[in-house]
Symmetry: C2
Subunit: 242 residues, 2 copies
DNA sequence: TTACATGTGTGATGGCCGTCACATCCTGCT
DNA sequence: AGCAGGATGTGACGGCCATCACACATGTAA
């Protein structure tokens, strides 16, 4: 079972080798051992829903492995991606802190591991450990910043090509997670479908297809499955005004 | 001086008659008296800038009286309103907590009073008073929720009329601050210019003018200076799909 | 292999709305 | 009163992109 999803389950937070690099998990040992008692670890396949927008908040999820997308949906079924969460983030925090329903639907983009902590346990946990309160604040500010970035991206860009160029450039900034830099070319792995990219930039799937086709035709970008290679970064940057 | 801006200055937080209704200020007495020592009260005219986007964060502002708009601007000078802050909110929090520059430019919409607290003092204040930490979390979740609402409003609406109808209806929900309900008509006070409304919904000033003109022509809305009267709420609601 | 679902490329069409241009109105100021 | 500057109303035009409609590709289950 431990290998069913092609990665090791992290059973013990104290022994987790990633914890220093992570937004939430870098806590003193006493807090971590408390966390160890109140968490419930689960493993999810790609496409699993951790929670649904509008549901009453049951608790938070600490994402250990894998990435997840946070989306919000209109009555008509149109939906938009609020952000992509990385390992080490606490999800569902806004809802739990404010005692309101979940703000977003959370869906795993890859096979993932997450630790669930119930609302009651989490509130106690925060009250007993000041360091945890600090991490909570950090996570909340991170959420805000992402949201503001999203507002800027959607509201201040003039054209869809600009928004998509911005997105690709943002992804290429992150060599840690899924970018590998070569002398001149920058390769990134993109696991989102065009439909999801469309939801990210607030446009239609067809337009994404056309814009990417255009970038390819101009020799700015090579797309081979999930691997994209930026061949002409300055050209992409020239599209971005913000 | 105390009446120069047509309202009383609230010198002493402990005696502030509004504090229970406010997001941040409803604190135990010991915290409030500490706050009393570290705050610096200022009064601002309409249109004053409390801080500028991109500046290093010097501290936070607790808005006592008046409202303020938070905007972010692109390189081209296009700007968008992130939200309107109400009395009792802490502004500049995201920047101070995360130690990064201010996310937004804050401009008063009315003559206002605000208490400034320096970064260092505020951090101590939060660490010494657990209740304050709770309020900080509440404020941050409020910021997130507003931002998510903004993303939904901008990203999920199809048309500008829909966005503007949504905005007007949102304003009319808030009878406390500037709405007064009559049997059939709902009157609200709107202090934003059409230009600002355009920035709020991510469109152009001319379009706002046209849409409002259209609403008037259809008899859904009466606009008399800053006082707007909703004459046909169901019609406005029928435009909104979210 | 065949089927079916999901993801992607591409043309045609039309409407929304951004932009430019100018007129008009309103408010505050001297 | 009269002026200046800002806020608002309105017409004309054109481009971007959403939508519809399919074909093709890719992956996956039977």
């Amino acid at each position: 079972m431990a290998m069913a999803y092609n990665f090791h389950i992290i059973e013990n937070c104290l022994k987790c080798s990633f914890r220093e690099q992570r937004l939430f998990c870098d806590l003193p040992n006493d807090a971590l051992s408390k966390l160890q008692n109140i968490k419930a670890t689960s493993v999810y396949p790609k496409g699993a829903m951790l929670c649904l927008e509008g549901q009453p908040a049951r608790g938070v999820f600490v994402l250990c492995t894998g990435r997840a997308k946070l989306t919000t949906t209109s009555a008509e079924g149109k939906s938009i991606i609020l952000r992509i969460a990385e390992p080490g983030e606490v999800l569902g925090l806004t809802a739990v802190v404010s005692g309101s329903p979940y703000e977003a639907t959370i869906e795993t983009l890859e096979p993932s591991q997450a630790n669930f902590i119930s609302q009651a346990d989490f509130v106690h946990f925060v009250q007993e450990h000041p360091d945890v309160g600090m991490k909570v604040a950090k996570q909340l500010t991170h959420n805000c910043k992402c949201a503001y970035g999203e507002i800027r991206a959607i509201g201040l860009s003039n054209s869809v090509p600009e928004k998509i160029a911005k997105l690709v450039l943002k992804w290429s900034e992150n060599p840690l997670d899924f970018a590998r830099k070569n002398p001149r070319e920058i390769a990134i792995r993109v696991t989102l479908t065009q439909e999801e990219i469309a939801q990210f930039v607030g446009t239609s799937r067809e337009t994404v297809s056309r814009v990417l086709g255009d970038f390819r035709k101009k020799g700015w970008l090579r797309i081979k499955g999930a691997t994209w290679t930026i061949l002409n970064k300055p050209a992409l940057q020239s599209l971005v005004t913000t």
